[in-house]
């Protein structure tokens, strides 16, 4: 069975006011739909409502004609939600976990069960409790694809995955969509948006359609991290999100360089060069570790531009540092 997942005027607010309101969208069968939102924008609450774990306070949602509120059991038969926590029975092996969930979802054993994310499947004979975060995530994703539901709902699916496994996941999601499944991905990674056929942005609990991944990424800062053997690109909404990104990047290996795009010097000046910078300011930035210099340069230029300075002095560098430290 295939069908579109449709939400109409959906709303849920926690007592403190967090949540979302008047959210309407359709995630079509055979499509990958992506809802992008910052941390705390309400993605996980939407996920919990669509997973039938929370009863919405307004509106409704359905899949292939089955109402998610009035016919909850029927709706549950059509979905496989993948939450942002990779819960497994830790003292069972990966294979036993797969068997338990296949049994719970009424799915017969599949001969190709071990080739779900080719080249990236975890060691299924090890205890799930001994898995790393990324391995647990892969096992959860395997379960979702093996249980073959008409709709797969993912909350931060690539959490903890390396870039190769991330690519394998999006390829598999595309395959599942091509076979007629409805794929809904809720993510805070703007780079995931390029895999979507239909795209939405969730901001302060309100959902709005976005025409393309380019449009989504336009208002964001592109950050390129260069490692000795690879280069990754991410997007952050503001410079305040940089410390988190740097922390995550440092966990990925030795960094050669972190570059920020989007800082624009005054007309006629090149970023990081020219008479915009005083030699003293440049000397102050040179005190930082080499791999951080491009990022600091971009941050200082961004601050100078925002504050309307036409020359970057050591004081401006100090101000930018203070602003960054506060954030």
């Amino acid at each position: 069975m295939t069908g579109s997942l449709a939400a109409k005027s959906l709303g849920f607010r926690y007592p403190g006011g967090h949540g979302f309101w008047d959210v309407s969208f359709t995630a079509g069968a055979g499509e990958v739909t992506c809802i992008y939102g910052r941390n705390g924008s309400g993605k996980t609450t939407i996920f919990r409502v669509l997973s039938t774990l929370l009863l919405p306070q307004a509106g409704g949602f359905s899949l292939a004609g089955r109402d998610g509120i009035r016919n909850r059991d029927g709706f549950r038969r059509l979905i496989f939600p993948v939450a942002d926590t990779s819960a497994h029975f830790d003292h069972l092996s990966g294979r036993e976990n797969l068997a338990v969930f296949r049994f719970l979802y009424g799915v017969q054993a599949s001969p190709v069960q071990e080739e779900v994310l080719p080249g990236h499947d975890p060691d299924l004979d090890r205890m799930a409790g001994a898995y790393s975060l990324g391995m647990k995530r892969k096992l959860f994703l395997m379960e979702s694809f093996l249980c073959r539901r008409p709709a797969l709902i993912f909350d931060e699916p690539a959490l903890g995955l390396d870039s190769a496994a991330r690519g394998a996941f999006f390829r598999k999601a595309r395959e599942a969509a091509d076979e007629g499944s409805c794929i809904l991905i809720l993510t805070n990674q703007a780079e995931d948006a390029i895999h979507a056929d239909r795209l939405f942005r969730l901001e302060d609990g309100t959902l709005s359609p976005v025409a393309s991944a380019d449009e989504l990424q336009k208002g964001l800062i592109r950050v390129t991290v260069t490692y000795p053997d690879r280069m990754t690109t991410g997007y952050i909404p503001s410079a305040g999100d940089l410390p988190d990104l740097v922390r995550t990047a440092l966990a990925g290996g030795t960094i050669r360089k972190i570059e920020l795009a989007g800082a624009v010097p005054p007309a006629g000046q090149e970023p990081g060069e020219g008479s915009w910078w005083t030699p003293e300011a440049r000397a102050r930035v040179a005190q930082a570790p080499r791999f951080l210099r491009p990022m600091i340069t971009a941050l200082v230029e961004r601050h100078a531009r925002d504050a309307g300075y036409d020359r970057i002095t050591p004081e401006v560098v100090g101000e930018a540092k203070g602003r960054f430290d506060r954030q």
Binding site: R48, S51, T52, L53, D73, R76, R77, I79, P81, A83, T85, S86, A87, H88, F89, D90, H91, L92, E96, N97, A99, V100, F101, F103, L104, Y105, G106
Partner: protein, 199 residues
Amino acid sequence: MMLSLGSAASGQTPPRFLAKTVLATGIVAAAAFMQRGGFALAILLVVAGITGPAVRVMNLRTNGMVDRLRSCPASKPGLVLGYAGLWSVVTLAALAPAIAIAGLSSGPAVIAPAVTGSVLAAGVGTLCGLAARTLGDVHLLAIAASVPLVAGAVLPGPWSLFLPYASVAAGTLTPLALASQIGLAACCLALLGGLASRW
């Protein structure tokens, strides 16, 4: 598959299970030496029967597994009652040598209420695990539920008719008491199933 499901739900590993069995057997054997085998077994049934499922439910809730199970298509009353039933089997199996020793010292009348008592304890434990909000709460709730049951087992009164632990401690059982105890355990499971059907 059933073995995997059982192990998955109870979280029991062979060493843990064995440790529980050895400890319970030792305690009941020592108590039986002082003619208090039934009394020790009653306390063990309450304490081990309630805390095990209660803490395991809380662990499953905190790691997100309960949410996974709630959103899967399997019957929720079936899952919860299966969980409680499985825990009563685990408790009975772990305490089987202890029950045998108590049966030898206090008489075979302890066996049937021990079975009913393990079902009731598993039901109460599961309810405690679902009602608590934190792991700290679940321990408090388990203690709060255990104390009146242990007190009811030791102090004779009208409740002795309904409490299987009272029959285990006393080593006596009437048909009416057995029927009442089965009724109480069934009510507890019905409450559990009713709560789960709202998930």
